[in-house]
């Protein structure tokens, strides 16, 4: 059982839900990413999703696109992310997933990517443009290493796909709340809670909901039916607003706390 599975087990015993924070690695710089993870760990974030920046992030809205471009200017690559996690592992035990579009992984080599991720202390991988059908080879290798492979379900997934993908997913299932890209939204899409209940009927694996979630009220609503939430753009936006302040990581962590326990 790895850190992610363990965390969900603990949460279940405490009848609590998971709060997963996404940040783009290297935005606004790699030291800030390190401080943010430490702060997030301190305020009780359950899982960190570290985003590897990509030049053409088709699943992302403007906020994460901009963060990715800045991170790329800071010359962030997979090795720098592995280095960061290795360093973090000296002090924190918080579960960490790495999110990357497929091409950087493909170029790095699937097997090498997974081994290095594991060695660095990463617990799971999320690849938004690698659908389950194309991932079987990667999945087999990840399973051997006890690395979680987190797949996506969306409002357009058929019942057949829901069954297929829940079967393959490990750690948790990432449910995309809406048809669209990442970014803050005022309200949750219609039918969301209903969809989640439907999926829960097909699988016992934890379902975490992401895309568009930016306020404490939304988090609360999702907690009613799902096992966790993933917040990205709203956090990146907070980082941006506070980017020049020396206490930026603390301020962002306080914001996260307000979302989490709002």
């Amino acid at each position: 059982m790895n850190r992610i599975d363990l965390r969900f087990k603990e949460l279940k015993n405490m009848q609590k839900k998971a709060f997963i924070a996404f940040i783009t690695a290297g935005y606004p710089n790699l030291d800030a990413t390190e401080d943010l993870v430490l702060e997030f760990s301190r305020v009780g974030v359950d899982i960190i999703e570290l985003g590897m920046p990509f030049s053409d992030p088709i699943a992302d809205g403007p906020i994460i696109q901009e963060a990715s471009q800045i991170a790329l200017k800071n010359k962030i690559n997979l090795d720098s992310i592995f280095g960061l996690v290795r360093k973090l592992r000296r002090t924190v035990d918080i579960p960490i997933c790495v999110m990357s579009y497929y091409n950087p992984v493909f170029c790095f080599g699937e097997g090498r990517f997974l081994r290095k991720a594991k060695d660095a202390g990463i617990d799971g991988v999320i690849i938004p443009d690698l659908p389950a059908e194309e991932s079987l080879n990667l999945k087999r290798q990840a399973d051997k290493l006890c690395l979680d492979t987190i797949f996506f379900l969306s409002p357009t997934s058929s019942l057949e796909r829901i069954k297929f993908i829940s079967g393959l997913s490990r750690g948790f299932i990432y449910y995309v709340s809406l048809t669209g890209v990442t970014g803050m939204r005022q309200r949750l899409p219609d039918g969301l809670l209903h969809h989640i209940r439907e999926i829960k009927r097909c699988t016992a694996k934890p379902i975490c909901v992401g895309f568009g979630i930016s306020g404490p009220a939304q988090v609360k609503q999702i907690y009613r039916v799902a096992d966790g939430v993933i917040v990205g753009s709203a956090i990146i936006q907070k980082i941006k607003e506070n980017t020049d302040r020396p206490d930026m990581p603390k301020r962002v962590a306080n914001f996260v706390l307000s979302l989490k326990d709002g």
């Binding site: 088709i58 091409n103 996506f152 357009t156 669209g180």
Partner: protein, 393 residues
């Protein structure tokens, strides 16, 4: 069908596939299902053929370019896709896809465009069939191809400027994909080249194969034999695959794809994906790409906006690996020379994209037997490029 490729998962050898966010999987499955039904449906094919001939102006002539031929010392035929309605081969594909969109009951279509030719062809087809149309176009291309922007607007399409990244075709595709992910239930994305996730490379190839099928009939009538060489420019590669594919099994016919070397291959400002790139995954499929060693996509460059793309259709990457086609690169300056050459010898002003292929004939003619029979796809006409060329010549 000449050969049953791609396979069921959309692969041409190691290339192709379907690399998209989960939200789009259902739309691609739906599109594949509908297309496979449609291509066996006589009524669909009859309707498509009707519009191709009555509306778009098919068949296009296969023109013996006598002056160019005697200048080069080889026999050159031009497949005149430039004479089609809207001025380029793109309409072959947009008519096919718009009929599919209607079958799937989609009320809105979106498209990306580089040179503006695919955008114009999509706007045209959408207007005729009464569908809403939004076209994504890089800000830099909007500046370079003002005439086509105006045409699209006149045809009732909204042209949405894309300001991210390199502000060219690659970024327009990113933005179109983001739109599609958002509006997938009501919108069909008309991809303009043989790129993107399965079934697009197969479907666009099939729609463009009318170029090669006609060429085959015409050359057999005129010359009583098959050509020695087929030459076409390659950006994403739709006019080239359209010309090549029906000759796939005719091994004596050699295929040459001409890519854009931009400011020169050593300048790193080029779009010669097959010549210089390496395998990767972009815009939903695995193919050759211009990328750095970390897998970040490099911006492409070409004087021809339609070739200004860091990826290429997976079937071309496959043809290259199995040695069925060879790929070469021609730079901006040479393309302008090709542009002038065809204008001056034949009184035909080519688009800058096929001007790359025209220039390559000069090199080819020095290497091959005198009087070899060569067919070049003249994929579009040059009116749209006069702004660019006036600045340069």
């Amino acid at each position: 069908m000449v050969k049953m490729l791609p396979d069921k998962k959309g692969y041409f050898g190691d290339f192709g596939g379907r690399f998209v966010p989960e939200t789009l999987m259902y739309a691609l499955e739906e599109l594949e299902r509908e297309y496979l039904k449609a291509r066996k449906d006589r009524r669909f094919l009859k309707e498509l053929n009707y519009y191709l001939s009555e509306y778009a102006g098919r068949p296009t002539p296969l023109y013996m370019a006598r002056n160019l031929s005697s200048y080069l010392g080889i026999r050159v035929y031009l497949k005149r896709e430039d004479l089609l309605h809207t001025g380029a081969h793109k309409i072959n594909n947009t008519l096919g896809q718009i009929l599919l969109a209607i079958r799937m009951n989609k009320k809105r279509v979106i498209a990306e465009t580089g040179a503006g030719q695919h955008g114009v062809a999509t706007a045209t087809a959408a207007r005729m069939f009464g569908l809403r149309c939004d076209v994504y176009m890089g800000q830099q291309d909007i500046r370079r191809q003002r005439l086509n922007v105006f045409r699209m607007k006149l045809l009732g399409a909204s042209v949405i400027p894309v300001r991210s990244g390199s502000q060219t075709l690659k970024d327009a595709i990113n933005e179109a994909l983001r739109d599609w992910v958002t509006n997938v239930r009501t919108t069909h994305y008309i991809i303009g080249s043989v790129v993107g996730p399965h079934p697009y490379p197969m479907m666009v190839r099939d729609f463009q194969s009318v170029i090669g099928r006609e060429t085959k009939d015409q050359i057999l009538k005129k010359e009583k034999r098959l050509p020695d060489y087929l030459v076409a420019c390659v950006g994403g590669g739709s006019n080239a695959i359209g010309l090549f594919y029906p000759f796939f099994k005719d091994k004596q016919v050699k295929f040459i794809g001409v890519e854009a070397a931009g400011e020169g291959l050593s300048s790193l400002r080029h779009a010669a994906t097959l010549v210089e790139g390496k395998p990767g995954v972009l815009h939903g499929s695995k193919s050759d790409l211009l990328e750095d060693r970390f897998g970040q996509i490099k911006p492409a460059h070409s004087v021809a906006p339609g070739l200004d793309y860091p990826g290429v259709g997976p079937e071309h990457a496959y043809y290259k690996r199995i040695g069925r086609a060879s790929y070469v690169a021609v730079n901006d300056r040479q393309a302008l020379e090709g542009f002038k050459l065809l204008s001056e010898t034949e009184g035909i002003i080519p688009a800058l994209e096929p001007a790359h292929a025209i220039y390559y004939l000069k090199k080819l003619s020095k290497k091959i037997k005198k009087n070899s029979l060569v067919v070049v796809c003249l994929s579009g006409r040059g009116d749209k490029d006069l702004d660019i060329v006036m600045d340069r010549l």
